[in-house]
């Protein structure tokens, strides 16, 4: 009676297809569209900003809390040299001691020094070229939170509390382009907060 099995399996598959095709999710992107002209596409369409992940991959990496450890940067910048020359972190990462975020220096900022310094260096030429084109250097962020973490971090209070940059970003004096030396997950934050007897109230960071 083999054919019967196959018949039933076929029927089942048919039902699934029907279920998937019949109705698509109601529209959120564009209120003026009619109920019948709804399609899943709007969740991916570029004309719309949504909190959904851009791809299944990013969803998975986000779920597993996985980050590239040493992303390639457009310029082979070296923290090592700059720090060795006596620069402080906050000289370039302006705002780190004033507010939540530290700025990643832009091309204009680099050129303030590199107008003069080490202009023959090919990497610096690249920077100069960016500046000439009036383009910003597309730096790749190394330390960032996934939106789904719904977490807000503020640098300033940590710096005021005397937390060393290195304790969260690793020893930059040994790095060229930044590496994700520390996996900044919640466990890491909580551990430090507990050691220092700082509040671990959820809403301190999550809101």
């Amino acid at each position: 009676m083999g054919w019967r099995k196959w018949f039933l399996v076929g029927l089942a598959l048919g039902l699934c297809v029907w279920a998937l095709v019949k109705v698509a999710p109601p529209s959120r992107a564009n209120p003026s569209v009619q109920a019948d002209s709804r399609g899943p596409s709007q969740y991916l369409s570029s004309g719309v900003f949504t909190t959904a992940h851009s791809s299944a991959t990013s969803a998975v990496t986000d779920f597993l809390d996985v980050h590239p450890e040493h992303p390639a940067q457009p310029i082979a910048y070296t923290h090592k040299v700059h720090l060795a020359n006596g620069l402080k972190c906050e000289d370039c990462h302006v705002g780190v001691d004033q507010g939540p975020d530290a700025r990643i220096p832009g091309v204009a900022f680099c050129m303030t020094c590199h107008q003069a310094i080490d202009t023959d260096n090919p990497e610096i030429r690249k920077i100069a070229a960016y500046a000439a084109r009036g383009e910003e250097i597309p730096w790749v962020r190394v330390y960032n939170y996934s939106p789904s973490a719904h977490v807000k971090f503020n640098h300033a209070p940590h710096i005021r509390a005397g937390v060393q940059c290195a304790s969260c970003h690793g020893d930059m004096t040994t790095q060229t382009t930044a590496e994700r030396k520390v996996n900044l997950n919640m466990g890491y934050c909580v551990q430090c907060h507990r050691e220092k007897q700082v509040s671990v109230d959820c809403e301190l960071c999550h809101n």
Binding site: R28, N30, S32, Y43, H150, C202, E203
Partner: protein, 235 residues
Amino acid sequence: MSHKWAMVVDLDRCTGCEACVVACHAENNIPTVGEDQAARGRAMHWIRVERSWEGDFPNPQIRFQPVLCQQCDDAPCEPVCPTYASYHTSEGLNGQVYNRCIGTRFCANACPYNVRFFNFYNPTWDLPLNLQLNPDVSVRSVGIMEKCTFCVQRIKSAEIQAEAEHREMKDGDFTTACAQSCASKALVFGDLDDPDSEVSRLQSSNRATKLLGELGTKPNVSYLERGTWQDATSG
């Protein structure tokens, strides 16, 4: 110094202009859900102005009442959450930790005030409307419960500011978006632990009541009832 954040709503001052509603949308990245979703009863308004009619033409009486999360001391929404996404913060707010929420929706069912709102879909903004999003507030995604936070992001930044200036927070350092926009000053926000704050003063008014106070949820939002006009002519 401890804080006990609270709000007083003067129903005699409230004009039902709903400035608070839009101000809240702007401050807290609340999505507009669109007509078909709104028709399904999924519109999100962390603060709403409830309206009730009494009497009939020619003498109809209308009452406006802004309703937002009452930030209860004994909140029915908190104990029922299996993952502590809904919990009581150290400053007495009903916290909602978005990334801990798995979406059982139990808290919203348990809430007597119906002020918790669920993200049935991933919210969307037609570009470039997304540029209006407030970077201090996280943008919720699908399957998450959300609600009025008493603008906790403003509380936090005010605390950080005070800490940076090595001083205690004082009344009027900041206020919630709704209270800030309220032209007739019907909404007043402040700290009950500060005896001189305006909320402390108003809350002791004899017009003060609590919404569904009989349920014993101990709300931190008080309502001042409408006054009446004493006829000067009839003495």
